[in-house]
């Protein structure tokens, strides 16, 4: 694995190579090298399986981190590729030509975060949110509770507790006030 990551470091300027646990390594790569890197991993290094694709919203840094999770069955290794893209309408290269199922993930990412993958099939079709008329809901500037109350209403008599506080009161009354 080290051998591979070292090579990736040289060839693709991969950075932040971290072994999270045995068999799971993550690394970060620049956006313009990501597709080549993934293709290389799939075709040459035996990472034939795309576990999933997802996205993390770092609103503070103004970036989305896309995560491509690849798996090598022979070595039982999982490799997470992190790619940073800008939050504001930046596009990403589609990988549906590498794994046909990727278009589903990309469609979902388009719906939930507003990231566009030019060329990805059926990208603009509704996935879960039929007729969605707000900003993409997984972006952190979207206030779900406010939206929920406005649109779905609030049943009178319902009380919401903060789970941590509520547990302190109901489950562990003796330890009330313990700051640790």
């Amino acid at each position: 694995m080290n051998e591979l990551t070292n090579r990736l470091k040289v060839d693709f300027d991969a950075s932040e190579i971290t072994e999270r646990k045995p068999g799971l390594t993550t690394l970060k790569v620049a956006k313009d090298k990501a597709e080549t890197l993934i293709r290389e991993l799939r075709d040459r290094e035996g990472f034939t399986h795309l576990n999933f694709m997802t996205c993390i919203d770092y609103i503070e840094d103004g970036i989305f981190t896309l995560v491509y999770m690849l798996h090598n069955y022979e070595q039982k290794q999982t490799l997470g590729i992190h790619v940073d893209i800008g939050r504001d309408g930046e596009e990403m290269v589609s990988i549906h030509h590498l794994w046909a199922q990727a278009w589903t993930y990309q469609r979902e990412l388009r719906e939930a975060y507003g990231i566009r993958f030019p060329g990805s099939p059926r990208l603009d079709e509704d996935f879960v949110l039929e007729g969605w008329d707000q900003i993409p809901p997984m972006r952190r500037e979207f206030d779900t509770q406010k939206f929920s109350e406005e649109r779905f209403g609030h049943r009178e008599g319902r009380q919401s507790e903060v789970p941590r506080d509520h547990m302190k009161v109901t489950l562990y009354p003796n330890r009330g006030g313990d700051e640790q």
Binding site: V128, E130, G131, Q134, P137, S148, G153, R155, R158
Partner: protein
């Protein structure tokens, strides 16, 4: 008897293109009166109560609680409960917990395709007040805004025993002639429709799914 429509009975079906409007029926639903003879109505209600056909449409996590109902342990067949794969023939709709907006649209369509008298059981807390999904962007909080509910079984998740108890409760209610959800829906049709359309933004069905 088969009736032809007069214009005031019709719905706009504005969610449909002009081309599609001719493909869907645009009649308003109509309420039905009880049979004029009380004995007949009581007998009919007894029959209805003892032949509850549940629509085989698992709408949320609670759908998993419906399966054991038919097994040897609970054997809901004893109470005349059976599953039915088509809404045309079903009389009971069990809402299995949370309902996302996308599912709600299908629930409404299926409910409207069931023939009256028809009954709705809400399973779990989510249809009541949103439950743990109270702040979700995609899950409704109060199911009775959208469809008339005859019986709530709360809990997260209620076990099959409770479901059996709920069914027996429903039977009791039916026999008493108090399950008139279908008529309530018809009578407050515009209110229900407005609520439904408030959350379902891509309304591409007819206003009433005959």
């Amino acid at each position: 008897m088969i009736k032809s429509l007069s214009t005031e009975d019709t719905l706009e079906n504005s969610g449909l293109s002009a081309e599609e409007q001719q493909l869907f029926c645009n009649a308003r639903p109509k309420a039905y009166e009880p049979y004029p003879i009380k004995a007949v109505e009581d007998f009919a209600n007894w029959a209805r109560a003892n032949s509850l056909w549940i629509l085989a449409f698992g709408t949320g996590c609670g759908a998993i609680e419906l399966r054991p109902l038919m097994t040897a342990r609970f054997d809901a067949n004893r109470f005349g409960v059976a599953g039915r794969p088509t809404p045309r023939q079903s009389s009971v709709f069990v809402i299995g917990g949370y309902a996302s907006v996308k599912t709600l649209k299908r629930i409404i369509r299926s409910y409207e395709q069931m023939q009256g008298p028809k009954f709705v059981i809400c399973l779990g807390i989510c249809p009541v007040n949103g439950g743990m999904y109270f702040d979700s962007y995609n899950t409704i909080n109060q199911f009775d805004l959208y469809l008339p509910v005859d019986l709530y079984i709360t809990g997260c998740m209620p076990r099959p025993e409770v479901l059996v108890a709920g069914i027996m409760e429903l039977q009791k209610k039916i026999k008493q002639g108090r399950c008139d959800g279908a008529n309530r829906y018809v009578e407050n049709f515009d209110w229900y429709k407005a609520n439904q359309k408030k959350v379902i933004k891509n309304w591409d069905m007819p206003d009433y799914n005959w």
